[in-house]
Amino acid sequence: MALLKMQFPLHRRVRLAQGLWLISWMTVLAGAFTFSLGVYLKTELLRRAEVMDNTEIHVVPNILMLVGLASIGNYMFAGRICQDSLDPSRFPRWKPFLLPWFGLSMLLCAHLISAVVLSYALQGSLEESLKVGLRNGIRFYRDTDVPGRCFQKETIDRLQMDLRCCGNTNYRDWFEVQWISSRYLDFTSKEVKDRVRSNVDGRYLMDGVPFSCCNPSSPRPCLQEHLTDNSAHFNYEHQSEELNLYNRGCRQALVDYYMGLMNTIGPGILSVISVQITVMVSLRYLQTAMEGAAELENPEDESVGYILEKGVKETVTNFKGAFLNLLQPGSVEVAPEAAEVENVDKATSPPASS
C-alpha cells in the first residue's frame, strides 16, 4: 500500500546519501542564484520607479529574494542531514526535524511557483501603473522649477532616449500637454496669445515634441515642430513619415522590456524548482530507507523506501484526524470509537454466524 516503494540495498543507500549531499549543496548555490536574480529584477524596477504609479509588481522580486535566502539555509541543513545519515548513531537525532523540514521545503517550492505565476499575472497591473506614471511624467515635464518635480524633464528625456520611445501610447500624447514652461513663453506675442486662447484650459498646446523623441537613424535632420503641417517642411508628409521620431509608446516599450526580463528569469527559476523537488523526494526516500534499516536485525540488509507509508487517501484521513485532535484535545472521540465498535462487531459476527 505504500506509495512508490523502492528497494534499497546497502550500496544503494550509501550512493543515495552521497549523491544527495552533492545535490543539496548545488541547491544551496541555486538558492544564492535565486536571490541574485531577485536583487537584479528589483534594481531594474527601481531604476524606472519614477514613472510607475504603484509598487505591486515588486512582490515578484521580493518573493525571489526571500525564497533564495531561506533555501540557502534550508538546503545547508539538508546537506548536514545527508552527511549524518550513513552513521546510524547520529541519524536519529535529526528525526524530529525532518517533518518540519519537508513542510518548509514544500512552502519554498510553492512560493517559487507562485512567483513565476505572478510575474505573468501582474502584467496588467504593471501596465496600468506605467500608464498613470507616464501620464504624470509628461504632464509635469515643464515643471523644472517646482521642487519635487524638477527632475521629471530629465527622467522622461532619458527614458525616451534609452528605450527609443516617445510619449505614453505614441508621440501624439505630447500634443495634448503643454510641455513648454510658461516662463519661456512671450505672452506679449500675438501667436502665443492666440494659441493660449484657442483651448478651454488656456494651455499653450502645439503639434511639437521634445528633442528626446528624435530618432538618430532618420536620414533627415529631426523635425520636432509643426509635425502635422505638411507644408511647414519641404518634402514632408507626416502620415508616411516613419523614421523621423520614435514610433513606439514608452508604456509599451517598458512593458516589453520587463516582460522580456521575466521571460529570461522564468526558465532559471523553473530549473531551481525542479532541483528542489528532486532533493525533497530523494531525502524522503533516504529517510524511510534509513528508518527501515534501523529496524532490521542486521542494519546492513536491504530495506524498503517509500514516499508515503500508506496510500494517499489514508494518509490524508490520518492527517486530518491528527490535526483535529490537535484542535480539540478534550472532546470525546466518537468517530474512532464507533469505528472500533463496528470492527469489533464485524469481528464477532462472522464467528457468530459461522
Binding site: 519661456y184 521634445p210 528633442f211 536620414p219 529631426c222 519641404f234
Partner: protein, 437 residues
C-alpha cells in the same frame, strides 16, 4: 665582487624553486591578462573606426597582444624549469638552457616596459586621428544617401548623445558646415536661396545644431535653431546660456575616454612588469646557486647565489669584448705576421728543469712597438691554454709586463668563461698541455 650575493642552504634553495614555480604560473595568468588588455583596447579603438582617420594607432594594442602571448610561453617554460630545479639530476637537463632563457626573459621584460610606456605615449597620435576623423564625419553628416557614408549621421548623433558632447571643439563647428542635406531644402524659397548665395561655396550654413547636441539637464526645452539670435527666443541670452547644449567638444570627450582607458592599462602593465622582473631575479639566483652547487659537488651543501659574478662595469666590459671578438674571429693577427703559431710554446725539452723560457727573446721588442690591441690579441693563444685558475695566476707575472690592461682582464674570468676557454683548448690539446705545471 659579486652583485648582491646571497647564501642558500639546501632547504632555502628548494623553497625558492617551489615558490618560483608558483610565481611562474601566476605570471602565465598575468600574460593572459596582458593579452586580454590588448584585445580590449583593440576592440575599443575598432568600435569607433568611423570617427578615426587613418593613423597608426593600432601598434599599441598589437604590441600588448604579442607581449601577452610571449609572456604566457616564457613563463610556462620558466615554471617547468623551476619545477625541475628541486631535483639536482633534473637540473642538469636545463643547465645549458638556463642562461639563454634568463637573457631572453630580461629582454622580454624590457619589451613589457616599452609596451607600458607606449600606452602613455599614444595620446598625440590618437588626438590627431580623432581631429581629422571627426571633421570628416561632420562634413559627411548630411550624406545619408551616399553609400559608405549613410550611417555617419546616426554614428555622430549617437556619439554626441552618449559622450554628452557637441561638434569637434565646440558647438560652433556645426555653424561652418552644411549639415542639412540639399534634398530637404526648398530651393524655390527665397530664404534658402539667400542663404546659399551668402557664402562663397554655396553651402546652406545656419546657426543651428542637430538635436543630438541638446543637453538633457536643461530646464528649458532645447533651442537648436537660431542659437546666436537672442531676439528669436524669449528670455534667452546665448552668451550666458550654458545648459542648453553640451559644451564639451567631442574630440576632447573621446580623448578623455581613451586616455583613461590607456592610463589604467599602462598602470596594470607596469605592475606586471615589476612582477616579471622579480620572478626573473628569483630565477637568476636559483640558477647561480645551483651552478655553484654543481661546482662544489656536494648536493646538500650551502651555495652562493648572485645576480652578476663581477660588478656591472666589469661584466659589461667583458660582454662588450666578447661581442667585439665575435667579429674578429676570422681576422688575421697581423702582429705575428699572420702566423697563429708564433707565440705557442713548443713541446721541446728545455733542459733539466724543463722550464720554458719566460720570454721569447725578440718578443719584447715587438711588445714595445706593437699597439696594445694587437698585443692583447697576440696574448689570446696563451690565455686559452690554462683552464684551472691557479695556473692562470702563475702566469700573471709573465703576462703583466707587455700590456698594462691585461691584468684586469685576466683577474676577471667569470664561471661562464670556462666554456669559452675550453673550446679552443679542445681544439689544441697536444701543444698547450706542456706549460701546465
Amino acid at each position: 665582487m659579486a652583485v648582491l650575493k646571497v647564501k642558500f642552504t639546501k632547504t632555502s634553495r628548494d623553497k625558492l624553486a617551489q615558490v618560483l614555480w608558483i610565481l611562474n604560473w601566476i605570471s602565465v595568468v598575468t600574460g593572459v591578462i596582458l593579452f586580454s588588455l590588448g584585445l580590449f583596447l583593440k576592440v575599443e579603438i575598432n568600435k569607433r573606426w568611423e570617427l578615426m582617420a587613418e593613423r597608426d594607432v593600432h601598434y599599441v594594442p598589437n604590441m600588448l597582444i604579442a607581449v601577452g602571448l610571449v609572456a604566457c610561453g616564457i613563463n610556462f617554460l620558466g615554471g617547468k624549469i623551476c619545477y625541475d630545479c628541486v631535483d639536482n639530476t633534473k637540473f642538469l637537463r636545463w643547465k645549458l638552457l638556463m642562461l639563454p632563457y634568463i637573457i631572453c626573459t630580461f629582454f622580454f621584460t624590457f619589451s613589457v616596459l616599452v609596451g607600458a610606456l607606449m600606452c602613455y605615449g599614444m595620446r598625440s597620435e590618437l588626438e590627431e586621428s580623432l581631429t581629422l576623423g571627426l571633421r570628416d564625419a561632420m562634413r559627411y553628416y548630411k550624406d545619408t544617401d551616399t553609400p559608405g557614408r549613410c550611417f555617419l549621421k546616426s554614428t555622430v548623433d549617437l556619439l554626441q548623445i552618449q559622450f554628452q558632447c557637441c561638434g569637434n571643439v565646440g558647438f560652433r563647428d556645426w555653424f561652418q558646415i552644411q549639415w542639412v542635406s540639399s534634398r530637404y531644402l526648398d530651393m524655390s524659397s527665397k530664404e534658402v536661396v539667400d542663404r546659399l548665395r551668402s557664402n562663397v561655396e554655396g553651402k546652406y550654413l545656419m546657426d543651428g545644431v542637430p538635436f543630438s547636441c541638446c543637453n538633457i539637464d536643461s530646464p528649458r526645452p532645447c533651442i537648436q535653431h537660431q542659437i546666436t539670435n537672442n531676439s528669436a527666443h524669449f528670455n534667452y541670452d546665448y552668451q550666458t546660456e550654458e545648459l542648453n547644449l553640451w559644451m564639451k567638444g567631442c574630440r576632447q570627450a573621446l580623448l578623455e575616454h581613451y586616455t583613461s582607458i590607456m592610463q589604467s592599462i599602462g598602470l596594470i602593465v607596469l605592475i606586471i612588469w615589476l612582477f616579471e622582473l622579480s620572478v626573473l631575479t628569483g630565477v637568476r639566483y636559483l640558477q647561480t646557486s645551483l651552478e655553484n652547487l654543481l661546482r662544489q659537488g656536494d648536493p646538500n651543501s650551502e651555495s652562493e647565489g648572485w645576480l652578476l659574478e663581477n660588478s656591472f662595469v666589469e661584466t659589461a666590459r667583458y660582454n662588450f669584448n666578447i661581442i667585439k671578438s665575435l667579429g674578429k674571429n676570422n681576422q688575421i693577427h697581423t702582429a705575428d705576421n699572420g702566423d697563429p703559431n708564433m707565440d705557442v710554446p713548443s713541446t721541446a725539452h728545455y733542459g733539466p728543469d724543463n722550464v720554458p723560457p719566460s720570454r721569447h727573446p725578440w718578443r719584447v721588442d715587438h711588445g714595445a712597438e706593437t699597439s696594445p690591441q694587437s698585443s692583447l690579441a697576440s696574448e689570446l693563444p696563451r690565455l686559452r691554454a690554462p683552464s684551472p685558475q691557479s695556473s692562470l695566476a702563475s702566469e700573471l707575472p709573465r703576462l703583466r709586463a707587455p700590456s698594462p690592461e691585461s691584468p684586469p682582464r685576466l683577474r676577471a674570468p667569470s664561471p661562464q668563461s670556462p666554456p669559452h676557454l675550453k673550446a679552443p683548448l679542445a681544439s689544441e690539446p697536444p701543444r698547450l698541455r706542456a706549460p701546465l705545471t
